[in-house]
């Protein structure tokens, strides 16, 4: 049953990125006691899970999954999450923003957006389960504060990111040592771009939640973005619902994740569309990053993903 995979001396870009991500995941398995993989049901976390399956085959994935649940989820994404957990026999921990609101750890914002509220349940989840390594799907091409992020990113006991305390990373020697109470965020997709992720999804035949592909949806326009209605607070008085052919480029809290108008029904369509796009995925679809020049940097400092 030996398959002959090309042994040309130059690996493709996707081979190299995959190999690097698998290397990082195995380093975490070798160096940490209680790793967890943040799983939102978004494409980046789905790719991470796929890489984890490859890294440890034929063993099962040795990481727990954690979903930070804003309560404003796309139902398709939750269904996808539960199906994946079932299929691969994974352990899932849910850190709920609603619970955090109910017991007073965080306060609902006036605009109804819960994106920024995820930090507290995320950190509480890490602390209560004593997770020491936390895989995130962040990529350096997403945003300029992320461009300086390390593969292994140290967080203090308050979960905070201090850019000045980050360790230099040389060669492929990742230093994951930390003091009790501290943890390390690990970003195996650091060197991937949005297009790389899509091409990898195509190459590997990875299934995604349907909302990534073109579909008809009732949406309304707010701040130049098409948002889906929901109990979180939309549409408001002067905003009107209309049916559009859309898809999502990112999957986040419904209150701040916009749809883009698109006819892309297949991975190949999406790749063509992303390649031709003149907007970054965050710029196009994430209200949270538009707040200020340093919006992401500030949230990262507080312990955000």
């Amino acid at each position: 049953m030996t398959t002959t995979i090309s042994s040309s001396t130059t690996l493709t870009q996707l081979d190299v990125l995959e190999s690097e991500a698998i290397h990082v995941m195995r380093e975490v398995a070798g160096e940490f006691e209680r790793p967890v993989l943040l799983f939102s049901g978004g494409k980046d976390s789905i790719v991470m899970l796929h890489l984890a399956r490859k890294a440890f085959w034929p063993s099962p994935v040795p990481f727990t999954l954690m979903h930070v649940d804003t309560g404003h989820n796309f139902p398709e994404v939750i269904a996808y999450r539960d199906a994946v957990v079932e299929r691969y026999g994974l352990r899932l921990v849910v850190a709920s923003v609603q619970d955090a609101i109910d017991d007073g750890r965080v306060v609902e914002r006036a605009d109804g957006s819960r994106n920024a509220l995820q930090t507290v349940p995320l950190l509480d989840g890490i602390t209560s389960h004593r997770f020491d390594a936390v895989f995130g799907g962040g990529r350096r091409d997403e945003e300029k504060a992320r461009a300086k992020e390390r593969m292994f990113s140290l967080r203090d006991e308050f979960g905070q990111w201090d850019p000045r305390r980050q360790r230099p990373e040389l060669w492929d020697l990742y230093n994951g040592r930390h003091k009790p109470g501290e943890h390390v965020r690990v970003f195996p997709l650091s060197n991937w771009t949005e297009l790389d992720v899509w091409r990898y999804i195509e190459r590997e035949g990875i299934a995604l939640p349907e909302i990534y592909y073109s579909h008809q949806r009732e949406v309304f326009l707010r701040d130049g973005m098409w948002l889906a209605p929901g109990g979180w607070g939309g549409p408001r008085g002067d905003e009107t619902l209309e049916t559009r052919t859309v898809r999502y480029r990112t999957v986040g809290d419904m209150s701040c994740t916009g749809a883009v108008e698109s006819d892309a029904t297949t991975v190949a369509d999406v790749i063509a569309e992303v390649g031709a796009s003149r907007l970054t995925e965050r710029g196009a679809t994430r209200a949270d990053d538009r707040a200020s020049e340093a919006a992401m940097e500030d949230r990262k400092r507080e312990g955000y993903f």
Partner: protein, 465 residues
């Protein structure tokens, strides 16, 4: 941008740039990103808005690459930033590092993974002290390919003689450092001449544009010419009904090639066995080469764990307890002779003591100051952190030669010949911070020694060889 249909054949080149804003480094990177259509409209409009907020003027492409608030506020680059761009045939990961002497550690970091370094000079100024420093760090870290980007050619009227003189000057210096592949390109980052598109203003220049050269440089040395090295990361033992007895050694091939049937030795134990399987999730392979992540199965049930290295039987690898090498000190705290350390090498971490700091490279004058023997006065008190530090200490950004005693024997590959396995970290056992990054064995530093004292001990003799 039309997406290439053959992106599945695209490979990946890691490169680093060193230079200061004055050299037009940010403009050059901005030009590469912009001309390869890697800057999208919202990023550009954010930069335009930020430029306007700072008083306007020409759109400042440097703002594309300065990520942190302090950097934008102070107009400097503090940290290594990674940039991504691609063409039809190749994807690029660019480590953008600040060029000033106080950021030497960032240059070292960026160069550690780079296959190519772009060294920038201003055509009006030619090769400066900082240019030589960038070339030295490039050579020290063993970056195989160098591009001298002679920028601002528009300000010297695209004068050929000026370019030729700078190229000659630099190439001569670089060759002396052991850099064998140097290509000089005359360009104007501001106007785009010879960055992506060929300039009509340099008819005398027959060489490639910067991007053409970046697309043509070989990504890796031929793995068939390198020694196989496989640091074991984890042992895969599923113990499931389907795979009750499976035992595989997972890792990434650091260098070279492995084939089914190869006879391998496990270091440091010295046990041997041969490869019966090269496994991946997608199926078994007959042969695999760097930098692929695979899982190896061996014929015999030998004791192998994380930190061990698999390599061809009969090789000449040293297993030793005395680590001699060149380090770049990365921490604010200075080195203290006798201090306890953890050494991270490959996938192994061992306890260690800093025995000697016996030379230091002055990165401004590019000369090496040698110190003889152990500084016993300071070695006795490793906890002394008083301000009157030992002169034989390494401080932030300094580059020096050290001898470290390891608690157990480990395989030691010379960095000069094994760039993928000859690097190491010195870690503070107290808080886990990375104190220094080092290269095993003789490096460029040893070649830069101006005058060796007559009674110098043969320090190589103590290298456990």
């Amino acid at each position: 941008m039309t997406e290439p249909t053959h992106h599945s054949q695209r490979d990946l080149l890691r490169l680093a740039t060193a230079g200061s804003v004055d050299d037009g480094k940010s403009t050059l990177i901005g030009r590469l990103l912009y001309d390869t259509k890697s800057v999208l409209a919202d990023q550009l409009s954010a930069v335009e808005a930020a430029t306007a907020a700072r008083g306007g003027g020409q759109v400042d492409l440097a703002l594309l690459t300065d990520g942190l608030r302090a950097e934008r506020e102070q107009g400097i680059t503090i940290d290594v930033a990674y940039r991504y761009f691609s063409t039809a045939t190749r994807a690029f990961v660019l480590a953008d590092t600040p060029g000033h002497v106080q950021y030497t550690r960032n240059m070292v970091t960026g160069a550690s993974t780079a296959e190519l370094a772009i060294v920038l000079v201003d055509a009006r100024k030619g090769v400066l002290e900082q240019t030589r420093r960038h070339a030295t760090i490039t050579a020290l870290l063993g970056v195989p390919h160098v591009v001298l980007a002679v920028n601002k050619m528009d300000l010297v009227d695209f004068d050929r003689a000026t370019f030729d003189a700078i190229a000659r000057d630099f190439t001569e210096y670089a060759t002396g450092l052991g850099l064998s592949d140097v290509v000089a390109v005359p360009l104007s980052a501001l106007d785009g001449d010879n960055v992506v598109d060929r300039s009509a203003r340099t008819p005398w220049y027959a060489g490639p544009t910067l991007l053409e050269h970046l697309e043509a440089v070989p990504v890796l040395r031929d793995p068939h010419t390198e020694d196989f090295r496989f640091p074991v990361q984890v042992v895969i033992r599923p113990r499931t009904a389907e795979h009750p007895d499976y035992r595989g050694y997972a890792g990434r091939i650091a260098s070279g090639v492995v084939r089914v049937g190869d006879e391998l030795t496990v270091l440091p134990s010295g046990k041997t066995s041969h490869v019966v399987g090269i496994d991946t999730f997608d199926g078994p392979l007959d042969e695999a080469h760097a930098p692929l992540s695979v899982t190896l199965r061996l014929a015999d049930d030998v004791d192998i764990s994380r930190g061990d290295v698999l390599l061809p039987t009969g090789g000449d690898t040293v297993v030793g307890q005395d680590l001699e090498g060149t380090v770049c000190w990365l921490a604010e705290r200075r080195s203290v002779l006798g201090q306890r350390l953890l050494v991270r090498i490959g996938t192994r971490t061992v306890r260690a003591l800093l025995r000697e700091v016996n030379a230091r490279l002055d990165v401004e004058s590019l000369t090496v100051e040698q110190w003889r023997g152990v500084d016993t006065l300071h070695a006795v008190d490793a906890t002394d952190t008083s301000s009157d530090a030992s002169p034989q200490a390494l401080t932030l950004n300094s580059i020096g030669r050290v001898r470290v005693r390891l608690a157990e024997p480990v395989p030691l590959d010379d960095y000069a010949t094994h760039r993928r396995t000859g690097g190491f970290l010195l870690v503070d056992p107290a808080d886990g911070s990375t104190l220094a990054a080092g290269m095993v064995g003789r490096t460029l530093l040893d070649r830069l020694v101006v005058e060796a004292p007559a009674d110098e001990d043969d320090w190589m003799a103590g290298a456990g060889i």
